[in-house]
């Protein structure tokens, strides 16, 4: 039973979790840093408690502060959101040790799915195709041998990383020898773990992911796929479903293989399997995210299923309560991440006070944001200010709605990336659905914006 949840996160996801709690009749306490005292989730929550200073290491990343806050406010569960401690098995274990429910996979599941290299091997053994790659690299000699086997160029990746951080493309044995010690020490510094592995470099690919939900009793469903190929420097900025790159048969097969493999491998709770899809439509598993994702609303719009409520119910020990047949993939949904950053100046993050603000609305439009007039966007955290999600029966309809909604969305006081979304919606590659993850980086965001502004 979960009756009172500490939300150990901030921004739009804290608000999203608060909404799920309200819908389920669960009380919600928001844990906030000093910088987030006047944040919308802190103000709307049933209760709010300051857990530390702006520095995340002493607030949102401090396991003792968060657990102490949960105990002090009488909570029986902790929701970590995404980022911060959301996939930290030691934290999940400490939460459990204090008699609290961790909303997410149990510590042992997190541990099992923590190493990217290990998970690739595990899920490959359960039938998922993976990018040709190595196990963990013991030394330079093994690295050179594995790379020769895979064929250059290869991608050198930290096993504990995420979000594209610390990855490096390597073109030759000489380069591999040179970067290996550098990457290792960078990985140690960034993730506290210097394990590295190799993957084949796929030049032109798409990023497609499959959403899954598995209850404690081994009953799992997939919730179809999301296409997250619109990225800037490995950061997703627009996600959609269905993927314009996959056939109906292809997506069904991929989703079914994915859920079968993770259930067999012992996964639990909500999660996402990420795949690279090459030009021929072949999908290769790359990693699993053991948490709710930023782009989860895309799936919610298509299926009508509340993923955060599902997360909570699973963690509380409830059975899933629905079957694969209850998960439709209806129409088309697109999410636009609205970031406080300046596309005209290399996307430098923005902070400041929101002077004017108008949220879009109308049919098929959802806007999840913690922004309000007068809100001081603090400079300490990520730049996500809100998410615009649109739905329509067809992709063309969703694009038209997205365009209409973006024209209503006004944010003044901080610069945002709204212009890049508007540019995307009139760009040929996006409109015809033929693009890969390097679309924005290849053309350059500035050139992209300029092209969109040209008349005609």
């Amino acid at each position: 039973m979960v009756s009172r949840i500490l939300i150990a996160n901030r921004g739009e996801i804290a608000l999203r979790i608060l909404r799920a709690c309200r819908t389920l009749g669960i009380e919600a306490v928001v844990a906030y840093s000093e910088a987030d005292r006047e944040s919308l989730p802190a103000m709307l929550a049933d209760e709010a408690i300051c857990i530390g200073p702006a520095d995340a290491r002493r607030s949102y990343l401090s396991a003792p502060a968060i657990i102490s806050a949960a105990l002090v406010t009488g909570c029986d569960a902790i929701h970590p959101g995404y980022g911060f401690l959301s996939e930290d098995d030691a934290f999940a274990d400490a939460v459990r040790a204090h008699g609290l429910t961790f909303i997410g996979p149990p510590a042992d599941v997190l541990d099992k799915f923590a190493s990217k290299a290990e998970v690739r091997r595990l899920l490959a053994a359960h039938g998922l195709p993976t990018v040709p790659g190595s196990g963990l690299l013991a030394d330079e000699e093994q690295a050179l041998a594995e790379a020769a086997l895979i064929g250059y160029p290869v991608l050198l990746k930290p096993s504990a990383g995420g979000g594209g951080k610390g990855m490096r493309m390597v073109r030759s044995p000489r380069e591999l020898t040179a970067v290996l010690p550098i990457c290792r020490s960078e990985a140690r510094a960034a993730f506290g773990d210097d394990s590295l592995y190799l993957e084949k470099w796929l030049e032109d690919n798409r990023h497609v992911e499959v959403q899954v939900a598995v209850d404690k009793y081994g009953h799992g469903v997939h919730l179809w796929e999301r296409d997250c190929s619109i990225q800037r420097r490995h950061q997703k900025i627009l996600e959609e479903s269905p993927s314009p790159a996959m056939s109906a048969a292809g997506r069904k097969e991929l989703a079914e293989r994915a859920i079968k493999a993770v259930v067999a491998a012992g996964y639990e709770n909500v999660g996402t399997l990420e795949f690279l899809v090459d030009g021929e439509g072949n999908a290769y598993f790359i990693e699993i995210n053991c948490r709710i994702q930023v782009e989860h609303p895309v799936t919610e719009m298509l299926t009508g299923i509340d993923l955060v409520a599902t997360q909570i119910r699973i963690a509380a020990g409830e059975p899933l309560g629905f079957t694969q047949e209850d998960v439709p993939q209806r129409g088309h949904a697109i999410e636009f991440r609205i970031n406080a950053e300046d596309p005209a100046h290399d996307f430098r993050p923005g902070a400041g006070t929101i002077e004017r603000f108008n949220a879009p609305g109308g049919p098929g439009v959802r806007f999840d944001s913690h922004a309000y007039v007068g809100y001081d966007v603090p400079p300490y955290y990520d730049s996500l200010l809100g998410k615009l999600i649109v739905w329509a029966p067809t992709r063309e309809g969703a694009i038209a709605r997205g365009s209409a909604a973006l024209s209503e969305l006004l944010v003044e006081g901080v610069t945002t990336n709204i212009a890049i979304h508007k540019a995307l919606l009139v760009s040929e590659p996006f409109l015809n659905g033929k693009f890969t993850t390097n679309l924005l980086d290849r053309i350059g965001s500035a050139a992209f914006l300029a092209a969109a502004e040209r008349p005609g």
């Binding site: 709307l44 049933d46 408690i49 200073p53 003792p64 002090v72 007068g374």
Partner: protein, 199 residues
């Protein structure tokens, strides 16, 4: 539930929903507030990092704050129903410092005609356990009480030399990070508050 604050000077004008007799006097007082004091406050709010300022005149209190919707309960509300120390920084105090601070910082507050008082703040979120009692003389840095963080005591230290004049939390209370839990009164009025003692 406390009355909702309103933003800017319009709040002062809109507050005049009262009975007929009081209205004329109130209106004059409010107009003066709106003309002179409120703009100054608004200016201060815009210039600095303050979130809220309140002034009182002619029986009216006008509070100017940056817009902030909602009215969720704060954890520090839990600390009993006893009145909070007047002018005490802490929960309703300034925004976060612009660089991460090693510990929550208190600012001394001069009471109208009395000595300087400074709050001792909870260093972590946890359970309050008192140590020294009211009346104790302390030096800056002395442990006054502790906050248990998952059973590990964290010192609440005196921010300045002086006398412990009030303890704001009770044994077993949950306290949040930066919450004012005790008040130190400087031993004697100083000629000028030394800047290096404030932190």
């Amino acid at each position: 539930m406390p009355p909702q604050n309103q933003t800017g000077d319009a709040a002062a004008e809109r507050a005049t929903v009262r009975t007929s007799a009081e209205r004329a006097a109130d209106h004059a007082a409010l107009a003066r507030l709106a003309d002179t004091l409120v703009p100054a406050l608004v200016g201060k709010l815009g210039a600095g990092s303050l979130g809220e300022i309140e002034i009182r005149e002619d029986g009216w209190a006008v509070r100017v704050r940056r817009f902030a919707p909602g009215a969720g309960r704060r954890a520090s509300d839990r600390v009993a129903d006893r009145p909070r120390h007047a002018g005490m920084p802490g929960h309703t105090g300034p925004h976060a410092p612009h660089a991460p601070a090693p510990a929550p910082a208190a600012e001394p507050v001069a009471t109208p005609d009395g000595p300087v008082q400074t709050a001792a703040l909870a260093p972590v979120v946890g359970v309050f356990r008192p140590g020294l009692t009211v009346g104790a003389r302390v030096r800056a840095g002395d442990r006054i009480a502790v906050v248990d963080l998952l059973g590990i005591p964290q010192d609440v230290v005196a921010p300045v030399d002086g006398t412990l004049v009030e303890i704001l939390a009770q044994a077993g209370d949950g306290v949040e990070y930066g919450q004012a839990v005790a008040v130190i009164e400087a031993a004697a009025p100083k000629p000028a508050p030394a800047a290096d003692e404030e932190n």
